[in-house]
Structures are given as structure tokens and as C-alpha cells.
């Protein structure tokens, strides 16, 4: 996959340089953000030409332009389908999910003041997995994304109820409640898999548990993009409040922040966003955990830069991770969660090592 490497190379180093410049010469956030958007657009434009099917760059753009109504002759129905029904919706879903997860992760790390927090902290992925297992193995008559979303929301409610049962919601209590709910949901998921999986039916659920964008079509794009626009964008406005949170609940209250109210709102928003993303992609790991840390290393802890840039970095990262997942072992496919974990785990390990040393 030299095409992938060549395309990823300049993008990644370009972003690094630009972000370093942000710290050094105080280049405006808007400038870097714009650069990120351009990089994301370029990534999608390049990645849409990559795949196991032998379709030339010219053909790809003929397909795109005919759908965008800029004329030109369309391809044969099948070749057009590869570009317009498979590659493009998958790339757009990857971008939206990557952005949503990285953003959720950054917010979650701030409200819990926990460097190891990720979007799934409140039991969301375990709850969503349980919903997915119910459909895939128990034959519950719901659409998979609907069941996964409901599962995630049930887990969230259980976690918050548990965290609140002992009084005000504190970060530590929230994390512990998440542990309890996650482990219960995960255990039930395991039980269902052991109990019911026959023949090779476990394969579908395996792909789902690891996170996969292979099933992403236009409806998935709609869910992910709408969730990002409706829930994700307003979360960006919480940046200033999150900066106040960094100094602890008491200091935040002294700065005039309504601590419990804001925490509820942000937790709810993050959970809603994550639930929507998980419902279309399964639980893709590490994007929400590692990318905010990577961006923070470059931008510093201020959330006004951290939140939007994490979202952009997450989008670009997942676009390329999924492109690798579908084309690296052509014609085989990997669940994208395997790719993100292979890239994310070493970074995560490094962060852990740094934490224990300091």
C-alpha cells in the first residue's frame, strides 16, 4: 500500500509542523483549523481512489462528478456503486465517527479529570455491544444501530443513576459506576455469545465488538454526520468551562461555573454523541483515548484549541485507519478497530509509562 503511505506521509508531517507552529509563533487557531479541514478533505479525496477494486482516479472522479450533478458520463452501475455506495459513504462515516469519538474523549477526559478516560467510560460500548448481540444472536427484531444506541443509552442511565445514588456526581464515583455497569453488560454479552453462537455466527459479532465500518452506507453517514452537527458542534462551546474544570470542582465553582449542571449537560451530550457513533461503527477503540492526548501534546491543555483539533485529527486518523483496514490485505478485510488498536496501543502504553514515571 505505497499509495496509502505516500498520501498519509505529507499530511501527517504537515499537521505536525502546523501544530508546532501554533505553539511557537501563535498562529491563529482558525488558521490551523482551516488547514485541518483542507487536510481532511484531501485525505478523503485521495482515500476514495484507493481500494481492492482496480478503478482509476479518472473513473472515481467521473463517478463523483456525475452524482454531484456536474455532468460527465457515469460509470457502469457496478463500478459506480463501488465508488458511490461503498467507498464514499464509508469514508464520510469514518471521518464523522473519528471526529465524534476524539471529541467525546477530550471532553470526557476533562470532566472526569482522568487522563485514561475515553468515550466509552460510562459503559456505553458495553451497553451498545449488548444491544448488538441481542440483534445478531438473539434475533431481537430491531435494526442493529437502533438496538446498539438503545443499549448504550440504557448503560448510560444505569451508570448515572448509580453514580448519583450516593449523592452528587463526582468524577471518581462516575468512573466507578461505569466500571460496574460495563462489567455487568460485558459479562451478559459474553454469556449470550457462549450460549447462542453456533457455526460461524460469532464472526459477525466479532467484527462488531472490534469496531468495523464495512457496513457503512449512506444511512450511516446521515446518522454520524447529523449527530456530529447537532451534538458535537455545541460541545465545542463548552471549551471555556472545561478549562475551568481543570482546576477542580471548587475552583470551577469559584469561577462562576454551575458545576453539577455543566457536568450533567456535558456528560449527557458526550454520551449521546458516542452512542450515535457506536451505533454505526461498533466500538472502535483508542481513537477517543489516544488522539486527544496526542493533540494535547502539540497544543497544550487549552480546550479552545484541543476540542476542534482533536475532532479534526480523529477524523483524519480514522479515514486512513479504515483505508488501511480495507485495502492493506486486499482482498481480505480487517475490522478497523484492529488497526486503530495496533496503532493506538503502543501510544497508550507510552502515555501509561510517562504517567507512572512522573
Amino acid at each position: 500500500m505505497t499509495a496509502t503511505e505516500e498520501a498519509a506521509g505529507p499530511g501527517v508531517t504537515g499537521a505536525t509542523r502546523a501544530l508546532a507552529a501554533l505553539r511557537g509563533s501563535r498562529l491563529t487557531l482558525a488558521g490551523v483549523g482551516l488547514l485541518g479541514v483542507v487536510l481532511l478533505g484531501a485525505s478523503i479525496a485521495v482515500a476514495v481512489t484507493i481500494g481492492p477494486a482496480d478503478i482509476g482516479v479518472g473513473e472515481v472522479f467521473r463517478s463523483l462528478s456525475s452524482h454531484l450533478g456536474i455532468g460527465s458520463t457515469p460509470l457502469s452501475a457496478l463500478r459506480d456503486g463501488i465508488v458511490w455506495e461503498l467507498r464514499l459513504p464509508r469514508l464520510l462515516t469514518a471521518a464523522a465517527v473519528g471526529a465524534g469519538l476524539a471529541l467525546s474523549g477530550a471532553v470526557m477526559q476533562a470532566i472526569t479529570r482522568n487522563a485514561l478516560a475515553d468515550p466509552y467510560l460510562l459503559g456505553l460500548s458495553s451497553g451498545a455491544s449488548l444491544g448488538a448481540v441481542a440483534v445478531l444472536l438473539l434475533g431481537v427484531g430491531l435494526l442493529l444501530p437502533v438496538a446498539a444506541f438503545l443499549g448504550a443509552m440504557l448503560a448510560l442511565l444505569a451508570t448515572l443513576a448509580l453514580a448519583r445514588s450516593a449523592g452528587a456526581i463526582t468524577p471518581a464515583r462516575t468512573v466507578l459506576a461505569g466500571v460496574a455497569v460495563s462489567s455487568l453488560a460485558a459479562a451478559i454479552t459474553s454469556l449470550v455469545i457462549f450460549w447462542t453462537a453456533t457455526g460461524d455466527s460469532y464472526r459477525e459479532i466479532l467484527g462488531w465488538l472490534l469496531g468495523s465500518l464495512a457496513g457503512a452506507r449512506w444511512p450511516a453517514v446521515a446518522i454520524a454526520v447529523v449527530a456530529l452537527a447537532v451534538v458535537g458542534v455545541p460541545l465545542l462551546a463548552g471549551a471555556r468551562v472545561l478549562d475551568a474544570f481543570a482546576f477542580g470542582d471548587t475552583s470551577a465553582a469559584a469561577l462562576g461555573v454551575n458545576v453539577p449542571g455543566v457536568r450533567w449537560t456535558l456528560l449527557g451530550g458526550t454520551a449521546l454523541l458516542t452512542g450515535a457513533m457506536v451505533s454505526v461503527s461498533g466500538s472502535i477503540g483508542f481513537v477517543g483515548l489516544v488522539l486527544p492526548h496526542a493533540v494535547r501534546l502539540l497544543t497544550g491543555p487549552g480546550h479552545r484549541a484541543l476540542l476542534p483539533l482533536s475532532a479534526l485529527a480523529g477524523a483524519i486518523f480514522l479515514v486512513w485507519a479504515d483505508t488501511a483496514a480495507r485495502s492493506l490485505f486486499d482482498p481480505r478485510e480487517l475490522p478497523v478497530g484492529v488497526v486503530t488498536a495496533i496503532l493506538g496501543a503502543p501510544v497508550f502504553a507510552l502515555l501509561l509509562a510517562r504517567r507512572t514515571r512522573t
Partner: protein
């Protein structure tokens, strides 16, 4: 915090254990049994030496392939229990197998196995023998229970064949015939299958095919070395995933659409029916224009017949008839 990360992995662990039973049946040509005098039959089964001083009389079969093998050899009365069956028995064996008792829907635990007091556990997959499955082979054998795995499903590199052949399957039939001291019956079954297969004429048009076993987002399909490849070869169809050196493989939709197979073989399993596969193919905007979909060129095979075994020949003949009806 570390704990929290451990828990979400639980379902994956569960899947990983099941995934150990993945890739059903690659076929190794079974090593011919070294019959010592008239007494013991000794075989090297997937690297485990097994000795049969006498024909087994109390057999537990795990997975459909092993049950069907014994029924085909007229040994149904030796079966004390079946477990983890993949689907109903084929018509020609249904009457003989009507009285069989299923002891577990999944792989039985070792204690359940011991409770049956079998003298042989005959499994379709190597992974059925594990500490959290029917028990490790060594341990069962030390308790006087012989173990046998369909040689087509051996996983060790020296025992897993480069490519499954009819001779691998006939080899298993003969080996099981020797173990049960019914070699004539085994020869009869082999001869019948050879005659049956001789009637299959390769597809005149040399069409291409996809063997879709399961999975919707990323189809899990028959690849280049297992029973699907053997059957497709016999039918004169070119497997679009035939270049992948494995028994089964995940194959992305993009590769499938790009190859545009002429014919699609749909595995009909209770957990992923042929009907649900057809519905997916017809509604997904990326696949509804495939020529096999537009012309409804589907061939159906029940899941238990899609794994290498005594049923493979019948499945091939059945698919050949369906193929002939298409054109």
C-alpha cells in the same frame, strides 16, 4: 482504572475462544492407519497418536460432520450422544439418525463427556477438544477415552493440507472404517461417492462464483484451500476468492462487486439464512446490480454440508443440479 479496561475485553475473549473453532475443515490427507495384526488400529490424528484396541462401541459425536460420517457407515448404533450439531441431518440419513440423543447444543463440558462414559469422542473441529470444551485430548485419552478429529480440520501445519482433495475426504471415510472394523462398508461408501461425482459435468460456460458463508458487513467466504474450493472446482466454477490461501476468509464487498461473480453460492444456516442473504444482496445499493443478483443466479447449500465430510459429495451433486437448472 486498569480494571475498567479489562472488563470490556470480556466479550472479545468469549469470541476469541469461539474463533478458535474458526475455519471449519481444511483437509489433510489422513495418514493411513497402521493396522497391527488383527488387533489394534493405531492412527496419527492431527499429530495425536490414538490406538484403538477394539472397535469403539460408545461414541460421542461433536458437530454434524462426525455424526453424519458414522451414520453413513451404518454405525448409528454406536453413538451414545451427539453435541453441537450444525443443522438437521440430510434426508438419506434422517431415518437412521432419528433416535440419536443430543446431549448439548454447544460443545459439552468435560464432565458431561465423562458422564456419558464414551470410549471415543469424535469431533468435527480440533478446537472442540480444550479445557473449557470437551476436555484436552491427552487428558481424555489418559482416562481411557479415545479422541478423533476429522482430519480435514487438522490445524497443525504438517497435518493441515495445502489443498483439500476428494482423496482427503475418502481417506477419512476409510480411516474411520478401519477404526470401526468396517472397511468394506467404507469402500462401499467411497465407491458410491466416486460414481456420484463422476456424473458431475464441469460448468460448460466456466463461470465464476462466490461462496458466501456468513457475515453481512464483511462477508465470510469460501477461499482457496477448503471444502468450498474443492466443490467449486468439481463444479467447474472459478472461485473469486480462490487466490486466498486459506479455507475460509473475510472478503470485502468492494472485492466482490469488482469481481461481479456469475453465480453466488449461499450457505443456508439457521443464524444467517439464504433468504436473509438474498434480501441483503437485493437491497444493498452496492450489490443489487451484480449480475448474479439481477438474474437470481443463486445456489443453496445447507451449512452442515459446507464443511468437509461424508456429505460433501452429495452437496456437490446437489449444487450441480441447481447449476444446471440456472441456465
Amino acid at each position: 482504572m486498569h480494571l475498567r479496561l479489562a472488563f470490556p475485553l470480556l466479550p472479545l475473549t468469549a469470541v476469541a475462544v469461539l474463533a478458535g473453532c474458526a475455519s471449519p475443515g481444511a483437509g489433510a490427507a489422513p495418514t493411513p492407519p497402521a493396522t497391527t495384526a488383527a488387533a489394534a488400529v493405531a492412527v496419527d490424528n492431527c499429530g495425536t497418536p490414538v490406538t484403538f484396541p477394539a472397535a469403539p462401541s460408545r461414541v460421542l459425536t461433536i458437530k454434524s460432520t462426525s455424526t453424519e460420517m458414522l451414520l453413513a457407515l451404518g454405525l448409528g448404533d454406536r453413538i451414545v450422544g451427539t453435541a453441537f450439531q450444525d443443522g438437521p441431518l440430510p434426508e438419506n440419513l434422517a431415518a437412521d439418525g432419528a433416535s440419536l440423543v443430543s446431549v448439548a447444543d454447544q460443545v459439552p463440558t468435560e464432565e458431561a463427556v465423562l458422564g456419558l462414559e464414551p470410549d471415543l469422542v469424535y469431533a468435527g473441529w480440533e478446537s472442540n477438544f480444550s479445557a473449557d470444551g470437551a476436555g484436552e485430548r491427552d487428558e481424555l485419552q489418559s482416562l481411557g477415552i479415545a479422541t478423533y478429529v476429522s482430519p480435514a480440520a487438522c490445524k497443525e501445519p504438517e497435518y493441515k493440507p495445502k489443498k483439500l482433495t476428494w482423496d482427503s475426504i475418502f481417506g477419512e471415510i476409510r480411516e474411520v472404517g478401519d477404526i470401526f472394523r468396517v472397511p468394506e462398508q467404507a469402500e462401499k461408501v467411497v465407491a458410491a461417492q466416486q460414481a456420484e461425482l463422476a456424473t458431475v459435468a464441469p460448468d460448460a460456460e466456466g463461470r465464476t462464483a462466490l461462496w458466501w458463508s456468513s457475515g453481512d458487513d464483511t462477508p465470510y467466504v469460501g477461499a482457496g484451500t477448503g471444502a468450498p474450493q474443492l466443490i467449486l472446482d468439481t463444479l467447474g466454477l472459478t472461485n473469486i476468492a480462490g487466490d486466498v490461501q486459506d479455507t475460509w476468509t473475510p472478503l470485502g464487498w468492494e472485492s466482490i462487486v469488482a469481481a461481479d461473480p456469475d453465480v453466488i453460492v449461499l450457505v443456508d444456516a439457521s443464524w444467517n439464512t439464504a433468504d436473509s442473504k438474498i434480501a441483503t444482496l437485493q437491497t444493498d445499493p452496492a450489490t443489487k446490480n451484480l449480475s448474479a443478483v439481477k438474474n437470481s443466479r443463486y445456489l443453496l447449500v445447507p451449512f452442515p454440508a459446507s464443511e468437509a465430510g461424508v456429505r460433501s459429495a452429495d452437496a456437490t451433486v446437489d449444487l450441480a443440479a441447481q447449476l444446471a437448472d440456472l441456465s
